[in-house]
């Protein structure tokens, strides 16, 4: 007995010493830093997400500069600079050098931040692979100084380790700039930084992005609109979307003095009547103290909350891109000849509001060979990995594209010169894993994506039919011109009339008969 206690104490000692940072060190693959290519992408992504979220909150038209410098074969420096509101001095070390600081995890609000562990993960990865500190400059007002920091993370304590803290001249009204050096690999293609930034530019038409590649190529993604996205509102959790663990945590942290008060003030769509009904159903007194709720009681309450009828959460908390702006985004980045966009009204899955937006670009200079290119987005962030595991992919491949003018064999990706953009905006995007690459397969979500795809598909089909028919019509005219000499020579033999006379007359009739022939195909007037 005593011996066991001692072992347990030993274990406890060891356990205490495993900090979040150390956990990260050992499990970096869970967080998207599993290979050098992906580490580079994650770093650019976290920095851009922060910049865009900050600009949206501060109502600033974003102007972001991303630069990737090649230091050595397997070493790169990522520099991201924005014109955002800047960060107050005290916050800088914690935001960049403390893991999970200010995590948006329990907040139900549509923002980019839900999708990564945060920029501090990149700082840690940098120090693990290069031993170097990350450099941050931030300025919050033209009359205030710019703060310069060189930061590392104390991995055993998960606290910032400040190497330099200075005031510097920075010729900028406000904004933040970070420099992170890391072991990485740069490559082009579907899962590249290039592709990521292009995706960001499509779904953030309000942003101007300047990107300098490792090959010193400068790409400027111009702003397509001065219209700022409406800031999404944070909402209270809906009883249908809560998990037991979170409910228990909320019960202990609440400042409400009664269970009824807790339910009405910390959840949306629960009034006193509904709260009472839930308590009754759980066999709990509505006046009891939330902190006094035992684990068993919490479970009963949880079940009661799922059973009582509650109206759907409000959906005006979302900030979709909107059909017109999405179209602007597509037009500036995809060289197609036809664009369709659809932005569907918000609906709800498991108590979380979400909205699906779809854009299709067709024809023009888009690749004519091979399957359609699918671009997936969640809360305006491109999803580049795990396409096969994503609900969006399932919705696209399960849609029958043949009636919409694209080729498709079975339940495969359709084939044709098209790009399909699918954006899911939600207060809580359900990812399949912590790496947050793929959206989980909820029926409500797949159904909504399919409806949006069908809506776009119908318009695409109309366009393709008209377009292709116009082409066929021309081909047919050319064909008649080839038939005419043959018919003329046969008729000349039969009748004795001169072949050239017959030919000339037939060519004249062809012009006259052309409009009638369109009708023969049921296409209507060309």
């Amino acid at each position: 007995m005593a011996k066991e206690m001692i072992i347990a104490q030993e274990l406890a000692k060891q356990q205490r010493e495993i900090s979040v940072s150390e956990f990260f060190t050992k499990n970096r693959h869970l967080l998207g830093f599993d290979n050098p290519t992906r580490a580079l992408l994650m770093t650019v992504k976290e920095a851009c997400d922060n910049s865009l979220d900050a600009c949206t909150e501060a109502k600033i038209l974003p102007e972001i500069k991303v630069e990737i410098k090649k230091i050595a074969e397997d070493r790169f420096k990522v520099i991201v600079e924005d014109n955002g509101p800047g960060i107050v001095k005290e916050q800088i070390p914690r935001i960049f050098a403390k893991l999970l600081y200010g995590s948006k995890f329990h907040h139900l609000k549509q923002n980019r931040g839900q999708q990564g562990i945060g920029i501090s993960a990149s700082v840690l990865y940098s120090q693990l692979t290069t031993g170097k500190a990350s450099v941050i400059i931030s300025k919050i007002h033209k009359n205030k100084p710019a703060h310069y920091y060189e930061l590392k993370i104390d991995t055993s304590k998960n606290e910032p380790h400040i190497l330099k803290d200075e005031i510097k001249e920075w010729n900028k009204e406000h904004g933040t700039r970070i420099e992170i050096e890391l072991e990485a690999k740069y490559q082009k293609g579907r899962q590249s930084v290039d592709e990521y930034i292009k995706g960001v530019a499509i779904v953030n038409p309000q942003a101007k992005i300047t990107y300098i590649t490792p090959d010193s190529e400068k790409i400027i993604y111009e702003r397509a609109t001065e219209e700022l996205p409406v800031e999404a509102k944070e909402i209270m959790p809906h009883p249908y979307g809560i998990e037991l663990g979170i409910l228990i945590k909320m019960l202990t942290e609440t400042s409400s003095r009664t269970l009824q008060g807790f339910l009405t003030s910390e959840f949306c769509r629960i009034g006193p009547g509904t709260a009472k009904e839930m308590c009754d159903k759980a066999g709990l007194k509505s006046e009891m103290k939330p902190r006094a709720v035992s684990h068993d009681q919490a479970e009963k309450l949880f079940r009661a909350m799922q059973e009582v009828k509650v109206i759907a959460p409000p959906t005006d908390c979302l900030s979709p891109i909107g059909s017109a702006l999405l179209e602007k985004g597509l037009k500036k980045e995809l060289p197609a000849e036809f664009y369709i966009t659809v932005s569907r009204s918000p609906v709800v899955y498991r108590g979380f509001p979400f909205s699906i937006e779809i854009g299709i670009a067709f024809g023009g200079e888009l690749d004519k060979e091979g399957p359609v290119k699918l671009m997936r987005f969640a809360n305006r962030v491109p999803l580049l990995y795990q396409q096969g595991a994503c609900a969006i992919t399932e919705a696209v491949t399960e849609t029958n594209w043949k009636p919409y003018g694209l080729q498709q064999s079975g339940s495969n990706m359709p084939v044709g010169p098209a790009v399909i953009v699918v954006h899911m905006a939600s207060v809580w995007v359900p990812f399949t894993s912590e790496a947050k690459d793929a959206i989980a397969h909820y029926d409500e979500i797949i159904k909504e994506i399919k409806l949006a795809l069908q809506e776009c598909g119908r318009k695409l089909g109309l366009y393709i039919r008209k377009h292709i028919h116009a082409q066929e019509h021309q081909e047919r005219m050319n064909l008649f011109e080839k038939y005419i000499p043959e018919v003329a020579s046969s008729l000349a033999k039969l009748s004795g009339e001169k072949k050239s006379n017959i030919e000339q007359n037939l060519l004249m009739i062809l012009k006259k008969e052309t409009p009638k022939m369109n009708g023969q195909n049921g296409e209507g007037k060309a």
């Binding site: 008649f480 080839k482 000499p485 043959e486 008729l491 033999k493 009339e497 009739i509 022939m517």
Partner: protein, 366 residues
């Protein structure tokens, strides 16, 4: 303009020239050149109860050049017509296969052939027969000759005198056009036509025609127009009874009905092809019982049942009690029986017993 009614000449050349002139007249008037032709389909065929044969109705289809659906057919029609006119001008005959190759050509600047398969040119030739009123033989286009005949008959063909009773084992081969054959001496009492060439060889070896003083004639499968016309001439010029011997299956029945009433496709030429007085000798469903042929059943396929149903529903057979009884029996037995199954009773059972008895007892269907 009705190019069809005008074309009832027998002179192919003139009819073709007129067809050409009519189309060119359309073109001069800047009209979409159009050929009218009777519809060759069940919907435009009726049974003439007086003549007891199929006749073509009045439905006319238009074939216009400047119509996406018709253009190629139109081109094929004028092309094959010009081939026919050339043949007539040069006084030469060409086989249907020759005509196919004479019309087959890739249109310059395209990957399109004027005709790709012989069935296309064959179909256009049948159209031209209706358009011009001249048979394909009159347009100097001939089908492969097929089929043999022997019997107590002497004819003159292309200046040669031919005795049909002195032709050994092969017999006289029936040409595709029999119009110019002269019958010099016809001693036979009746004609026996059979679907199978192999049965004809059996009967010729047994000298069935000599013993029974008849003519035996066969083609392989579907009866050629040459043979149908030859049978009709014997029937009309010498009033010879004609008996038909086919397999007991829907196809065999169909062969018989085409000889008797004509076909939908050639309803326009019924007058010179059909023989309403022809009789069906066998094999019948009753023969199966009588001669115990059940053990030689061949199971009917879905396509056989479909064809049987189609035949049974033809308006000209719908009220024929005797035939409907056969159709019903065949359907119930779900089986076909070949003529040659009679050989199970002995190689010459057919010539020594089956046929003489049937004819003597007038055991046939009308």
């Amino acid at each position: 303009m009705d190019k069809m009614a005008k074309g009832k000449h027998n002179h192919g050349k003139e009819a073709l020239t007129e067809l050409g002139n009519d189309i060119v007249a359309d073109i001069r008037k800047k009209k979409n050149p159009t050929i009218n032709l009777p519809v060759r389909a069940l919907s435009n065929v009726s049974f003439d109860t007086k003549k007891k044969s199929l006749v073509l109705g009045n439905k006319v289809a238009e074939r216009s050049f400047f119509n996406v659906a018709h253009a190629k057919k139109f081109l094929q029609t004028v092309e094959v017509a010009s081939v026919a006119k050339e043949l007539l001008q040069q006084e030469k005959h060409a086989s249907l296969r020759d005509v196919f190759y004479m019309a087959k050509r890739t249109i310059p600047g395209t990957k399109i052939n004027i005709v790709d398969e012989q069935v296309e040119s064959d179909g256009v030739i049948e159209d031209l027969e209706l358009i011009t009123g001249a048979s394909r033989e009159q347009l100097h286009m001939t089908a492969n000759k097929m089929g043999s005949v022997v019997g107590n008959v002497t004819i003159e063909d292309a200046g040669d005198t031919i005795h049909w009773d002195k032709l050994g084992s092969g017999g006289y081969s029936v040409p595709s056009s029999v119009e110019d054959i002269k019958f010099k001496d016809v001693k036979a009492n009746y004609i026996l036509y059979m679907e199978k060439a192999a049965v004809w060889e059996r009967l010729n070896e047994d000298k069935f025609w000599k013993k029974n003083n008849c003519i035996i004639i066969s083609s392989q499968g579907q009866t050629t127009r040459g043979i149908r016309r030859l049978l009709q001439r014997f029937y009309e010029e010498y009033k010879l009874p004609i008996y038909v011997l086919c397999d007991n299956d829907p196809y065999g029945y169909w062969i018989y009905f085409v000889i008797k009433y004509g076909s939908i496709n050639l309803a326009g030429q019924s007058e010179r092809l059909t023989i309403p007085g022809v009789k069906y000798l066998g094999i019948t469903c009753d023969d199966i019982e009588k001669y115990d042929l059940k053990k030689h059943f061949i199971k009917m396929k879905d396509t056989d049942h479909a064809r049987l149903k189609q035949i049974a529903e033809y308006p000209w057979l719908k009220d024929d009690k005797h035939w409907q009884r056969q159709f019903k029996m065949m359907k119930q037995m779900d089986a076909k029986v070949e003529i040659q199954s009679l050989s199970s009773k002995g190689i010459s059972f057919i010539s020594e017993s089956y046929l003489p008895n049937k004819i003597k007892n007038k055991e046939f269907l009308d």
